[in-house]
């Protein structure tokens, strides 16, 4: 199966590539949410979190603030 996976990734099939990108984005989103949640629990300010994510405070607050 691994052989097959590697072959399809290298075979530049857009479907496979896009599927991989989608999964990667989903994984990044989930990890970001978990990390932000934990940082807040540890007392980090939105500004500190924003600095480390390389985005504005407004962006991080909009995405992860009170929903």
């Amino acid at each position: 199966m691994t052989q097959q996976t590697l072959a399809s990734a290298a075979g530049d099939d857009p479907a496979q590539g896009l599927r991989a990108v989608r999964s990667l984005r989903e994984l990044a989103d989930r990890l970001e949410a978990l990390q932000v949640e934990r940082a807040r629990a540890l007392g980090w300010s939105w500004q500190q979190i924003a600095d480390h994510l390389g985005v504005t405070k407004q962006a991080v607050n909009k995405k992860h603030g009170r929903r």
């Binding site: 990734a9 991989a20 949640e37």
Partner: protein
């Protein structure tokens, strides 16, 4: 539109919300509807069984399709990412099941339907009209899901394929259930 729903069809819509809370998704798509249809007694469940499917297994498939929610271990492996190892690390730092939860808090209040779920409900209504039925029951909902090009349709197609049958056969089973009732 909901005023034309039968008791079991209403129960399906309500149950779909419960499923969304259980799996921690922020919206309700056709897979939630499919889980609800396959888990609640009613014409749809009878039709699934009549078509040679195990409704409980269909519900499990749809649920696992929901919880995997885009985290495709195989696709990530093609990029050199070992999802199991990421999951172990996330469990250690954020608590067991953290990655599945994905930082999403328990949702309160209304959970919105995705466009494909709305489409399936609309198609259920159209199916009822086509069959000259006065109300919409679980069977019509199942027909709506089968008509919509949606994630739940793909789950069902795979299950039907594994059972050696197909979508038209299930559709026939649903229509026969309603004449039998």
């Amino acid at each position: 539109m909901f005023e034309r729903f039968s008791k079991d069809a209403r129960a399906v819509v309500v149950e779909a919300q419960t499923v969304a809370r259980q799996v921690g998704t922020s919206s309700i798509d056709t897979r939630h509807l499919l889980v609800a249809v396959a888990e609640a007694p009613g014409p749809a469940l009878d039709a699934l069984r009549a078509a040679g499917l195990d409704p409980a297994a269909v519900a499990v498939d749809a649920r696992s399709d929901l919880t995997s929610g885009g985290l495709d271990a195989e696709a990530l492996a093609s990029l050199g990412i070992d999802l199991d190892s990421v999951r172990r690390q996330a469990d250690a730092t954020f608590g067991t099941g953290a990655l599945e939860r994905g930082g999403r808090k328990h949702r309160k209040g209304h959970i919105p339907f995705t466009p494909d779920a709305k489409k399936a409900l609309e198609l259920a209504l159209r199916e009822a009209i086509r069959l000259a039925d006065t109300g919409i029951d679980g069977g019509h909902l199942l027909l709506g899901i089968l008509r919509a090009d949606c994630p739940a349709g793909r789950v069902l197609e795979a299950a039907l394929h594994d059972a050696g049958t197909d979508v038209p056969a299930l559709r026939t089973a649903v229509e026969e259930q309603r004449t039998a009732a």
